[in-house]
């Protein structure tokens, strides 16, 4: 290396100083002359600056034909002299985006110098979406990043997916907050966040090795600095469910149940359906208008040698389903101090505490759809209506009323580091991070009776306590230097991470009292006590060696090489270490002399990268066959329970990493002096050796082992563009991003073609099949071909079992005259969208600013599994009114029966389009002019009103087509149990002193 550098230096030193020429001209920025622009002949010591009129004159050594112009806030330019003696140059104002210093893994880099696909969202781009979750406020902001609001429950986190789903396991990206590596960021207060870097390609993620395959999200919190400021901000608002589902009213219900009775060969049970009128819509009973509040106080400041940020936040959200609520209190202290010239120390600490009032969401939501509309929520005496009498369900209002389930989470996340600088170009950092959380839950159910099937004979209490700690110790040595036109930087490191957690829980019955002061185990009958405990939240360790080298030649040619070796306790000795390399190349074409940056294209950069990353999230100890306790047997005339133990799962000692190989080609283009910036990345990600507990036949008698069986492809295109224009008084911007993903299972375990999953909740049926050649977790069932209209049609078309007139007619795909599960089911759709879309815009005039966000997704489907059931006396959704009653009455919907294949077999009847476009947020804000704020001794004062999830254009008939169930095999199946999202209106203010 030394020799290489030496010879490079020698080369540069050979600049001949023979004949010289002089070049002069004027440098302008827009219409104005620019004063103090640095004008240089690259590779020589020759340089000058422009005068008060923007003029310059420079001597150019012979053999040189290039001038460079650079000025803070403007895009630097290289101009070819080509024999001219006068060269006037117009510099364009640099977009913030291009000047940006981007936080990457174990370092920072100029956006221009990046070879990887990294998108950055700054705090001011996080719009005023009222949420405690950073993820929710990132939806639609970054191409290649899909944000799914996993649930609308108060305090719910969002789900992150970067560039499709490259695993059959946990597809969550890795989170890095101020250098601390974490699996979730629920503790983060979005208002503390300074910037979010989304690392998408392997050049960016390989430095996170075995955990980089799902992408990496690096979050930096606000560090303070500058003069002291005090910021107070607050908002308050109200939420309501975005839409409700059309269900039958009482008269329609009685009519259809009568019809079902007749079709089932029984007497109709409601002699006069009309007498019931409209009845109860149970959704109106469980949903409510719910308030939301947030208040934040922060102090920032620093001096020459230190920075600090101290903030406190309180957030409260009541749920749109009665009985649910979330409260959170967080504080943050970030601090740094340059102790000596060579030593800098810093620390970041977040302390938080939250409380949730929980309800059994799934049960309540589904019951609200299925409870019969004849029963009243409460009768005239205030007693809960017995929905089991007619409809065989519970009363959802009573479920809410008798629920006393509260959970609390305490979390401390922090890190401290010291940077030691030496030999000018070297910095050694040792960083220790800690993530500690403590969760508790208590669940009290009083003794009550609504009906025989909705009652609790004895009051009971369950408590749960768990702690988890995760520490990280990283030691890195970094180097950076410039040698003339050469820039070189690099980092090597050694890190350890260790995670352990444990839970303990217990329960008792027959409490001596029923108010909250008795919600303790000791209040219950000791003879009913039970308890359990063990490892929870992971028992794993990682030892890692990492390194990266960046080389930039003249701002034009970029090379990045990085790699990481990870050793993980999750893998057996046969495969404990994995190596994950990457290489990235970049070319800033517009920095070339031949490029005319005054033309249409003011900026052009090309990137390409290749690399490998891994995924290790498969749970602990999977490589070793573990003996399960608790399989006791009873013996003896005076019976006792003797312990029993056996294997319940198979194990795989050869367990290895999942490996994702990703290739990325990117282009970054600026038009019209970079007013329009455009970025596109084409990528191909193949994940092989995907760890999965591939289902095995039950006759094996044990749960399957996790094996490196599958291979999945994600290829796609991420595009984003921004247009910014205007002056201080009037500005506007428009941004759009789109992500196209093609997901395909390339291989399962070599000989299996089908991978079934996704229980539909009826008849043990599975709704998804991860078939080779199709998207992972594709929906799989019969294609609807119509409804049997007559006996002739019954004879004419193939049947599934014994079907009747009015039953669904499925397509006989292979034309063999019978419908069979083995041969006539086909792929009916997938939960993975072909395209996700985000559009963001803003218009500002004087102090007034209007911003909007649109998000959307296209090409995904939903299985409306809540319409699949053994109905008995459940209420039906309005769609069931379109039933078959006589020939010609319906070609799509079957006759009403209580059960049977019409309602229990997955067919395209239950697969709906999940595409949508949502007006995610509109905010109108006003920033008061300085004459007012000066008088109030404020730096700024802003007020705003904001609406979130205002309008959604969707085909799907359920609450929300974004159905996340936690597993690739299960996503997109709507069992009617996901907490719906809310439409929220808020008003807020923001004051800085």
């Amino acid at each position: 290396m030394k020799r290489l550098i030496f010879s490079l230096l020698t080369l540069l030193g050979c600049a001949a100083a023979v004949a010289q020429t002089t070049v002069s001209g004027v440098v302008t920025g827009g219409a104005e002359p620019l004063i103090g622009v640095s004008v240089q002949v690259p590779g020589t010591g020759s340089g000058t600056i422009t005068d008060l009129d923007g003029r310059y004159e420079i001597t150019v050594p012979a053999g040189r034909d290039t001038l460079s112009f650079s000025y803070i806030g403007f895009t630097p330019r290289l101009v070819a002299i080509q024999g001219r003696s006068t060269i006037d140059v117009n510099l364009s104002e640099a977009s913030e985006v291009l000047q940006q210093v981007v936080v990457i893994g174990y370092g920072i880099q100029q956006k221009d110098d990046l070879t990887g696909a990294v998108s950055v969202v700054e705090s001011d781009q996080l719009t005023d979406i009222p949420t405690q979750s950073l993820g929710q406020s990132l939806q639609g902001k970054v191409s290649g990043l899909q944000i799914i609001p996993g649930s609308g429950a108060p305090g719910a986190d969002a789900i992150f997916r970067i560039r499709g789903i490259g695993t059959l396991n946990d597809a969550n990206p890795l989170f890095v907050v101020d250098g601390m590596i974490l699996n979730d960021i629920s503790f983060l207060n979005p208002q503390d966040v300074q910037s979010v870097s989304v690392l998408k390609d392997a050049s960016a993620t390989a430095i996170y090795g075995a955990r980089g395959a799902n992408g990496v999200i690096i979050i930096s919190t606000k560090q303070g600095g500058g003069e002291g400021t005090i910021n107070i901000s607050a908002y308050t608002g109200t939420q309501e469910v975005v839409r409700t589902i059309d269900v039958l009213n009482a008269t329609e219900y009685a009519t259809l149940i009568n019809e079902a009775d007749v079709n089932e060969g029984r007497q109709p049970r409601f002699p006069n359906p009309e007498q019931y009128g409209e009845g109860t819509d149970w959704q109106d009973v469980i949903f409510q208008q719910a308030p939301i509040y947030n208040a934040q106080l922060s102090f920032m400041g620093g001096g020459d040698r230190s920075t600090f940020n101290l903030s406190a936040n309180y957030y409260r959200q009541e749920g749109i389903i009665r009985g649910s609520a979330y409260d959170r209190f967080t504080t943050r202290l970030n601090n740094s101090r340059q102790v000596t010239d060579w030593l800098n120390v810093a620390g970041n600490l977040s302390l938080g505490y939250n409380t949730s009032d929980n309800i059994s969401t799934g049960n309540i939501l589904l019951t609200a759809l299925r409870a019969d509309p004849i029963t009243v929520p409460r009768d005239e005496n205030g007693n809960f209506g017995d929905a089991s009498a007619i409809g065989n369900t519970g009363n959802p209002l009573a479920s809410i009323f008798y629920s006393n389930n509260e959970s609390q989470a305490y979390r401390a996340v922090g890190n401290a580091y010291a940077d030691v600088s030496f030999l000018e170009n070297f910095t050694f950092r040792t960083n220790f991070g800690l993530d500690f959380n403590y969760d508790r839950n208590r669940d009290f159910v009083p003794a009550f009776r609504v009906s025989a099937s909705q009652q609790n004979e004895e009051s009971d209490i369950s408590v749960f306590n768990a702690y988890r700690r995760n520490w990280l110790w990283e030691n890195t040595l970094s180097y950076a230097n410039d040698f003339g036109v050469h820039h070189l930087d690099g980092v090597v490191g050694l890190t350890y991470q260790d995670n352990f957690g444990e839970f303990i829980s217990g329960s008792r019955e027959r409490l001596v009292g029923s108010d909250p002061s008795f919600y303790y185990l000791n209040s219950g009958d000791v003879t009913t006590a039970s308890n359990s405990g063990g490892v929870s939240g992971g028992d794993w360790g990682l030892v890692s060696y990492l390194g990266r080298l960046n080389y930039v030649y003249d701002g034009r040619y970029l090379v990045t090489v990085s790699g990481r070796v990870d050793g993980s306790s999750r893998f057996g000795a046969n495969n404990q270490y994995g190596f994950f390399p990457s290489v990235g190349l970049g070319w800033n074409v517009s920095q070339e002399e031949f490029w005319n940056a005054d033309g249409l294209i003011s900026r052009l950069k090309l990137r390409a990268s290749w690399g490998q990353t891994g995924n290790d999230r498969i749970g602990d100890y999977q490589y070793v066959p573990r003996v399960a306790n608790g399989l006791g047997a009873v013996f003896g005339r005076d019976p006792i329970l003797l312990p029993g133990a056996s294997l319940t799962s198979l194990a795989n000692p050869d367990l290895a990493w999942e490996e994702t190989t990703q290739t990325d080609i990117g282009v970054e283009v600026g038009f019209f002096n970079n007013q329009l910036l455009f970025e596109a990345d084409l990528y191909r990600k193949v994940t092989s050796g995907i760890l999965f507990q591939a289902p095995i036949p039950n006759y094996i008698g044990a749960n399957p082992a996790v094996r490196n069986v599958a291979e999945v492809l994600n290829r796609g295109l991420d595009i984003s563009g921004t247009w910014r224009a205007g002056s201080d008084a009037f500005r506007y911007s428009l941004g759009a991003n789109a992500s196209f993903v093609h997901n395909e299972v390339l291989q399962l375990d070599g000989n299996t073609e089908n991978f079934f999953g996704g229980g539909l909740g009826v008849g043990g049926q599975l709704g998804t099949n991860s078939r080779v050649g199709f998207a992972a977790g594709s929906f799989y069932g019969y294609e609807l071909d119509g409804v049997f209209q007559s006996e002739e049609e019954l004879n004419q078309f193939a049947q599934l079992g014994n079907q009747r007139v009015g039953d669904l007619r499925f397509r006989d795909q292979n034309g063999d005259g019978v419908i069979t599960a083995a041969e006539d089911r086909v792929v009916l759709g997938s939960a993975i969208p072909d395209m996700i879309l985000g559009v963001n815009g803003s218009v500002a005039y004087s102090g007034l600013e209007l911003t909007f966000d649109l998000t959307g997704q296209f090409g995904n489907e939903v299985i409306n599994a809540k319409q699949m059931a053994r109905f008995g006396a459940y209420n039906y959704e309005a769609r069931f009114l379109d039933r078959f009653t006589e020939p010609g009455s319906s070609l799509t919907d079957p006759r009403i029966t209580i059960a049977g294949q019409n309602f229990e077999t997955l067919s395209s009847r239950y697969v709906e389009d999940g595409s949508y476009v949502r007006l995610r947020n509109v905010t109108l804000g006003y920033r008061f002019a300085s004459d007012l704020t000066d008088r109030l001794r404020m730096q700024s004062l802003r007020v705003y009103v904001s609406g979130t999830n205002l309008v959604t254009w969707q085909e799907y008939t359920g609450y929300n087509p974004e159905i996340y169930n936690g597993s690739v095999f299960d996503n997109g199946i709507d069992r009617g149990t996901i907490y719906p999202i809310a439409r929220t209106l808020t008003a807020g203010l923001d004051i800085t002193f």
Partner: protein, 488 residues
């Protein structure tokens, strides 16, 4: 990667960092053994076999679907409860089920889980270093008895089934073994169990499989196979062992006092501990639905069963619990659920009030009792032309049933083989009603079509004698499993 480790480890040390590399990576499962350090002691050996017994109490093995596929499917009972409750069992009752029905899948998985645990024990018991040889032999015999029982039910439900004799087969695509092979394993397992097991147990081991249980089970297998001579020999051996006797009262067998009585040949042991862990849902799913709330009201005794009892047979009232009747322990009156028409319950599954709620049922599941053995003997002896002896055993059962009411259930006297066969079959039905034997008896004697067709028009001959292989199993078997006739 081993070389990488050898390079990296010194690197670690070189950097003089306090934490050693390997310490972070060294993890052992917390709170549980692994296969490497298990099967070392006698205690662990016993636990491995206890885990096989554990599976007998499971929902899949002996509760909901099991009852559905033995009683509800037969002429002895209807599904019970309200119509849409547990609808897959209504399909079982009506013979409208398909390969995706939950019930066959449920028992399939329950029984094969038991077989896996038995195979694991059978494979590893010989290697346990610290164990008394007698205990080793006995444990292996117990595991083989239980494996045979699991396969016996499977082969009777499904016909040919995959035959797994070891826990970790190399290839998971395993075709169905012919019935004869399955039976050969069952017979050799039971034969081995007869030799390995003691005739009885004491103390905390009461309830484990005995040589008598293995012999009686083998007699039942022989009867099922039509090996009447062998069935007669084995059942007579059990009878002549003198270890068993009919319980004095018929109704008493099904009380807690009747558990592990002189009549008990093999029972699944269950108990309702205050903290749970020892119960089953066997009692709950068949318990009174409504008032008092004792359960779900499944397995409703059918009209046909009621009609099968001879006039005055006291077993009818001991078998069926009617609405309006006083509960067997006198604790109340059955009111039932007014919304359900014609409720009645399986009284044999009734248990008195017990800790832990209905789902923590304490009732032992009577798998094999002495009356069954007597009737096996009677049936086999009649088939091999020894009707006089057959009558003896048949009439022993009738005499006990008769109790003190001498006017009912007169002794059967016919020695005509066909008539006696019918009499024995009828006796089996009423004596063992709702004890999950009926369906197997119907299929074994080739009567399922003639009996079920008039009651259940959807019954299809040459199809419904066997249950379908669960569709998911076919899907997962990579083509190794072929569906039973008529279910494709």
């Amino acid at each position: 990667m081993q070389t990488m480790k050898s390079i990296l480890t010194p690197l670690c040390l070189l950097l003089l960092l306090a934490t050693s590399c390997t310490e972070v990576l060294d993890r052992t499962p917390q709170g549980e053994y692994t296969l490497e350090n298990f099967f070392r002691t006698e205690e662990q050996a016993v636990q491995s076999v206890n885990a096989v017994y554990n599976q007998l109490r499971s929902w899949e093995t002996h509760v909901f679907s099991f009852i559905g596929m033995t009683d509800i499917v037969s002429d002895d009972s209807d599904k019970g409860s309200f119509t849409s409750d547990g609808f897959f069992l209504e399909e079982i009752d009506q013979f409208t089920f398909t390969p995706t029905n939950v019930a066959p899948a449920s028992v399939w998985s329950g029984y094969y889980t038991g077989i896996f645990r038995a195979n694991l024990a059978i494979q590893n018991l010989p290697e346990v270093p610290e164990i008394d040889e007698q205990v080793r032999t006995r444990l292996r015999g117990e595991a083989r008895f239980l494996r045979a029982y699991f396969y016996f039910n499977l082969v009777r439900w499904f016909g040919d089934v995959p035959l797994l004799l070891e826990p970790f087969p190399d290839n998971f695509a395993i075709a169905r073994a012919p019935k004869a092979e399955v039976y050969a394993l069952i017979e050799s397992d039971l034969q081995a169990a007869i030799e390995a097991l003691p005739a009885s147990y004491s103390g905390v081991d009461v309830g484990r499989a005995t040589s008598g249980a293995a012999r009686a089970m083998l007699a039942k297998v022989a009867l099922t196979r039509g090996n009447f001579q062998q069935a007669a020999d084995l059942s007579l051996a059990v009878i002549n062992s003198g270890r068993y006797a009919l319980y004095p009262t018929f109704a008493g067998i099904f009380t807690l006092e009747g558990e592990n009585s002189s009549e008990s040949v093999f029972e699944v042991q269950a108990a309702a501990f205050e903290i749970g862990g020892g119960g089953t849902q066997y009692n709950e799913v068949q318990g009174v639905r409504g008032v008092p709330n004792l359960g779900w009201g499944f397995n409703r005794p059918s009209d046909d069963l009621i009609a099968a009892f001879e006039p005055g047979d006291p077993r009818r009232d001991a078998t069926i619990l009617y609405v309006g009747e006083v509960l067997p322990d006198g604790s109340g009156i059955v009111e039932g659920d007014p919304n359900i028409v014609g409720e009645r319950f399986n009284q044999k599954a009734y248990v008195s009030d017990h800790p832990g709620g209905n789902g923590n049922g304490p009732g032992n599941i009577r798998v094999l009792r002495y009356a069954d053995v007597l009737l096996i003997a009677a049936e086999a002896l009649n088939e091999i032309g020894r009707p006089e002896e057959a009558l003896t055993y048949l009439n022993m059962v009738r005499a006990r049933a008769r109790g003190t009411s001498s006017s009912v259930l007169p002794d059967v006297t016919t020695t005509d083989q066909a008539q006696l066969r019918q009499a024995i079959w009828r006796e089996r039905r009423v004596e063992l009603a709702l004890e999950q034997h009926r369906w197997f008896d119907l299929v074994r004697t080739n009567r399922s079509f003639e009996v079920m067709k008039p009651l259940r028009p959807s019954f299809t001959q040459n199809k419904n004698e066997l249950f379908p292989i669960p569709q998911t199993e076919i899907d997962l078997s990579e083509g190794a499993l072929v569906q039973n006739p008529g279910y494709n």
